[in-house]
């Protein structure tokens, strides 16, 4: 069973390659897997450098989103005023499509790297914020009563009850936001790419498509997909490890 996905993938690749050979599909319409590997081997450093640049934006955005989302969720759970003030804006931010605001952000923020990080952060922010907020409110009301009975200060309830209760929620938010940050980084690069200052993988895709270098374009796409999968599973594994160490998973 463990080998089923790999086997299925290999079979699909073989069929794909076979179809391309038999039908004699031109490479600028649909390159076969071998042509894609060939394109990667032709310039591994260039493509991997581009991937590193995109991942740098992704991780920076994920970090900022985790700090901001966590902090704003904590602020919201400690004060009704903060909740009333923050919540509508968080939702507004979430429903605004990134491609619509990315050009503005790129114009307003001078530094291209910072602009990309801002764009990706906007996409990654909401799951972290919303998950942490519901985690902070997830402790059973009896535990709240217990803390009140013993005269707990607000910071004590936060540190000893709400934050630990929110940790699993935060970690699953982190996993969701990891994928979103990557998507956000790519979308922002696509928008910025036409502005001419991008070094990321999305720009390589754009560039290859302009030049009709389909194998190279596919190679970049495959790298992006692999990066997304590794990011998702990696963040999932880190989360499980942290929870196991705390004895709650």
């Amino acid at each position: 069973m463990r080998w089923a996905p790999a086997l299925f993938g290999l079979l699909a690749l073989a069929l794909w390659q076979g179809a391309v050979w038999i039908e004699n599909v031109p490479v600028y319409v649909l390159p076969g897997p071998l042509a894609i590997v060939g394109a990667f081997m032709a310039d591994p450093v260039g493509l991997l450098t581009a991937l590193a640049s995109t991942l740098l934006v992704t991780f920076a955005a994920l970090f900022v989103a985790a700090v901001l989302g966590g902090a704003m969720a904590v602020a919201m759970s400690s004060s009704r005023l903060a909740q009333a003030a923050i919540q509508p804006w968080a939702v507004a931010l979430q429903v605004t499509p990134l491609p619509a605001i990315a050009p503005l952000i790129i114009i307003w923020v001078g530094n291209p790297f910072v602009a990309l990080v801002v764009c990706a952060t906007i996409v990654a922010f909401f799951p972290l914020f919303a998950n942490t907020a519901s985690g902070l409110a997830s402790a059973p009301p009896e535990l709240d009563d217990l803390f009140r009975l013993y005269g707990a200060r607000r910071w004590q309830t936060m540190a000893l009850l709400r934050l630990p209760a929110a940790l699993p929620y935060f970690l699953s938010g982190l996993r969701i936001s990891g994928g979103l940050a990557l998507v956000g980084a790519v979308v922002a690069e696509l928008v910025a790419g036409s502005g001419g200052f991008a070094s990321g993988l999305a720009y390589r895709i754009l560039e290859a498509s302009f030049r009709l270098e389909m194998p190279r374009m596919f190679a970049a796409l495959v790298l992006l997909a692999l990066a997304g999968i590794v990011l998702n599973f990696g963040l999932g594994a880190v989360g499980r490890m942290i929870l196991r160490r705390r004895g709650v998973a």
Binding site: P140, L146, F147, Y150, G151, A152, L160, L161, V248
Partner: protein, 244 residues
């Protein structure tokens, strides 16, 4: 120790959870609040704990209002912190009043010992059975040496064998600790086995119907004692009349 004088509590929405309820609790009392669902038992317990305020009537504490630690509370679920060990769960009330861990540990160990959990100090709630979790919860309530121990159907979720064991152990703890216990239950058998005073409550509106005093001295064979059977019969009859 505490006199509750004609308290009333009406929840938003007009539900009269308690009407004109008066009850006097003395040192070392063991009181069972007995009644069907919705008769205001939990509401009364929360008023006594200061977790809720009455709309009318008053609570008078003999010797000044309680400070944190004077009252212990045990809920129907153990309500432990799932990420904390048994030891750290019991340490919590002391930690909240600013006591250092090392300073608190002798008390924590003693409380765990009292409920028979020596050897399980570093176990997490997940690794404990339902009965053991409830024991941790009781140890947590005892660790501050409370004057008043409030328990809201603490054994309702346990199987009968575990329940009998915990009931017997609770009586031991009560005799040693010398605190006053107010124990909410809707089991006539449990009330008759445990309590010195059985307070019958009826719903809509929640109020106290009657009080029955017990002269049983609970021990291992109490459940076989004809006097216990007679008390159960007396309480059942009184409850049926009160609800009619």
């Amino acid at each position: 120790m505490l006199t509750v004088s004609s308290v009333g509590r009406v929840f938003p929405g007009g539900i009269e959870a308690l009407r004109d309820t008066s009850l006097r609790m003395d040192e070392s009392d063991f009181i069972a609040l007995l009644g069907p669902s919705g008769c205001g038992k939990s509401t009364l317990l929360r008023l006594i704990a200061g977790l809720d305020q009455p709309d009318s009537g008053r609570l008078d504490w003999n010797g000044g209002p309680p400070v944190p630690g004077d009252i212990g509370f045990v809920f129907q679920d153990a309500t432990l912190l799932p990420w904390a060990t048994a030891e750290d769960n019991v340490f919590l009330p002391l930690r909240l009043r600013g006591m250092a861990r090392a300073e608190a540990m002798p008390q924590v160990q003693a409380a765990l010992h009292r409920v028979g959990l020596t050897g399980f100090e570093t176990a997490r709630p997940r690794a404990l059975s339902g009965g053991m979790r409830m024991r941790v919860s009781i140890a947590r309530a005892l660790v501050t040496r409370p004057r008043l121990l409030l328990m809201d159907e603490p054994f309702a979720a346990l199987d009968e064998f575990t329940r009998h064991k915990l009931q017997a152990d609770l009586l031991e703890v009560w005799k040693q600790a010398g605190c006053t216990v107010v124990f909410v239950t809707h089991s006539i058998y449990e009330a008759a086995f445990l309590a010195r005073r059985i307070v019958l409550m009826t719903p809509r509106p929640g109020k106290i119907a009657q009080e029955i005093r017990s002269s049983l001295v609970a021990a291992a064979e109490t459940r076989l004692d004809p006097a216990y059977a007679a008390l159960v019969a007396e309480v059942s009859r009184a409850m049926a009349e009160a609800l009619a």
